[in-house]
Amino acid sequence: MLSVEGVCKSFAGNRVLHEVTFDVRAGEVLALVGENGAGKSTVLSLITGLQTPDSGRIVLDGEPVRAWSPQRARSAGIGSVHQELSLNPHQTVAENIFLGAWPTRGGLVLGRNLAEHARPLLERVGLDVDPRTKAGRLPLGQQQLVELAKALVSRPRLLILDEATSALDDDQVQAVFRVVRELREANSSVIMVSHRMAELFAMSDRLTVLRDGQVTATRERAETDHDDIVRLMIGRELSNLFPDRPAATEAGPRLVARGLTVPGACHGVDLELAPGRIIGLGGLQGQGQREVLRALGGLARHAGTVELDGRPCRSRSPRDAIRRGIAYVPEDRKIEGVHVAQSVRANLALPNLRTLAPASRLATVARGAENRLVDELIRRLRVKTSSPAQQVRRLSGGNQQKVALAKWLPTRPGVLLLAEPTRGIDVGTKREIYHLLRELADGGMAVLVTSGDTMELVGLCDEVAVMYEGTVVDRLSGPDLTEERLVRASVTGSVAHA
């Protein structure tokens, strides 16, 4: 139905795609897999008309496309849902769904009329919300489903799902799958990109693997398995994804929180973070995990007591927290975690300017020391960048995350807080980050991690506190720390007895 033929694409001299060729047949679901930076998003942006290839062509129904643009792609029956939301938060759900193709009555776009048209689409994606709600007011998962409804308006013959399930819970994922199956039955095609391998295997007919901008293989689902695909993705076997856990230490707690409360998000949370230990905060999306971290990191107003090394400590701003040795790696990597428009060097130096530009030098930045520090961090974390002057925007997600983490290391934090440290990151980089975190803990840091990935929490953490509706409902460690118990506690919100 659609084929990509020998496509090449470079950005600012960096080759992103090289001779990429694959096709999607009518009535099939094709999974596009690859590590971050392998070129999946770029291929998709060529298909949806957001970019044009340097060479090669896109062929639709046997005809090469010409003057391709999002408008043309949409009218040719290509719909897409991206990880990064394209909704206008200030308009209603219905207005967003019909973007550009608003049904009118007497030439006017009327709210009631729009809502009527939107309801069946919302039903189809399993979303029970008022179509006249402002899109920005919905939780992330629901917004993603609105995106799906929006893509369905033009009755797509080809639907592109680019990490479209990354913020969805299980029920919502099932709703997406239902839509995918309906499309397949109607002889339409779907291209799926996801980091959740299980989803790809559950839904796809074929898998095309990209590595470093080239197609390494296309496999029928029945003829391949998880390990085979991972091997094709990273070009090697991946062993010991998670580091070994050391024997429990007897060190006293470094940070103790009692009755931590952030109005409207979490209440009465008790936590103890000790040097050498990695503590996880688990649970379904949005149970207050994020705010616990933000409170400790000085980014959210909170009540309750927090003690650091036995002394009371209340962080009113990130500066307060940093001064006390509490570093926070936020969830919104591109917004808060790094300065995407600045260089790797500027990013890594920023939290360390007090040492790099001391008062004794009249606060002038010591360039030599700065370069040494930056080179050292790039080497230590194996940040893949063409130079320290490279804009962080141009790095892959995994490398951006490394920068977001690396910049804190020279401040020698005693407490490290990480929100969703590996979301949207390829498995190779995940492994590196897991091992780094364990290494840091072994070096005496107290680490606190939130994650929506149960396997990650179970594999990485010494102890996991499960949150439900803003409070901790269970704590799992040792032999009790299993995926099954974690999921059960997350879903039921009560202590799970084996």
Binding site: L50, P70, Q71, L85, N88, G100, W102, T104, L110
Partner: protein, 311 residues
């Protein structure tokens, strides 16, 4: 439902402020609510209200128009120069010129990849120069009958007030067309709108051109009010229109805001200026108070919005 209430809270707050001002005004000028008074006030405020509506239109697309004052003066000059040869033709000509100036601004924003603040800053020199070239000295003439009807009423009808109402009704309808909806869509998330297949460039140019129409109407109103044209009279309207829009709740980042807020904002600024005159305070103090009130109003609103968000 909660959302609806909080959304209107801002308008209600502005409305309350306006009522307070009106009551104070009534104390100084008991004839406030007579037709004569309404005619005079609406003649006085029409230009600011329409200019603010133009500014709001641009701000909804995520832009800002620093060339608004010069374009207003340009429309005023064109109208004043041609009015003696036929008022309708002069008005059409003035509106076309203003809309074209707006469209040029919009095209530079849409195609050149220059930020609106810079484009319109440079354009303010351009349009200011064109106006001076068209009308080097204050001059031109608007037929006396029209001036009289506008400022003193026509058969007891407050012409400027009617004109404002007609424009607002037209905007309300226009906002509900696909173009109006697209304007908000582009302003709220330009990339999303582009990726969703909207012709964002055309919509932006259309938005700036529409703003030009509002500003052109404001310029025509000002010409009729004063009876002639003046190339430099537009300057304060740039900043006052921004002030009225921001006061009315229009966001600098686009996609957020309603005309009713802008109109309330413009009325508040206008009434306040008049009120200060009534208090017998030296007109020199007016500027100081205007500045202080602008800061206070916006700070209060920001802080109130924040409280609501964190609560």
């Amino acid at each position: 439902m909660h959302e609806r209430i909080s959304e209107h809270l801002e308008t209600v707050g502005l409305g309350v402020l306006l009522v307070v001002l009106l009551i104070a005004y009534q104390a100084y000028d008991p004839s406030l609510l007579t037709p004569a008074s309404i005619t005079i006030l609406s003649a006085q405020f029409l230009s600011l209200i329409l200019a603010a509506m133009g500014q709001t239109t641009v701000m909804l697309t995520g832009g800002i128009d620093l060339s608004l004052g010069p374009v207003l003066a340009l429309a005023m000059a064109v109208f004043a120069l041609r009015a003696d040869h036929g008022v309708v033709l002069a008005a059409v000509l003035a509106l076309l010129v203003a809309a074209a100036a707006g469209a040029v601004n919009g095209a530079m924003v849409a195609y050149a990849g220059l930020p609106p603040i810079i484009v319109t800053l440079a354009a303010s020199f351009l349009w200011g120069g064109v106006t001076l070239a068209v009308l080097p000295q204050p001059g031109g003439h608007v037929p006396g009958g029209l001036v009289k009807a506008y400022n003193n009423g026509w058969n007891g009808v407050a012409v400027p007030a009617v004109a404002i109402i007609v424009v607002v009704v037209l905007w309300k309808l226009g906002k509900l067309t696909r173009f109006g909806t697209a304007l908000y869509a582009v302003g709220g998330n330009e990339h999303g709108a582009y990726a969703g297949g909207l012709n964002t460039r055309a919509i932006k140019i259309g938005g700036y051109a529409l703003a030009g129409v509002f500003v052109g109407l404001a310029g025509i109103g000002l010409a009729i009010q004063t009876g002639s044209g003046d190339a430099t009279i537009g300057t304060p309207y740039t900043l006052n229109s921004i002030a009225a829009s921001v006061l009315g709740g229009v966001s600098f980042f686009g996609g957020v805001g309603a005309m009713r807020g802008t109109i309330l904002g413009a009325l508040i600024i206008g009434l306040l200026t008049n009120l200060l005159l009534f208090t017998g305070m030296s007109p020199f103090y007016q500027l100081i108070l205007q500045g202080v009130i602008l800061i206070a109003a916006i700070a209060l609103k920001t802080l109130a919005t924040d409280r609501r968000r964190t609560a």
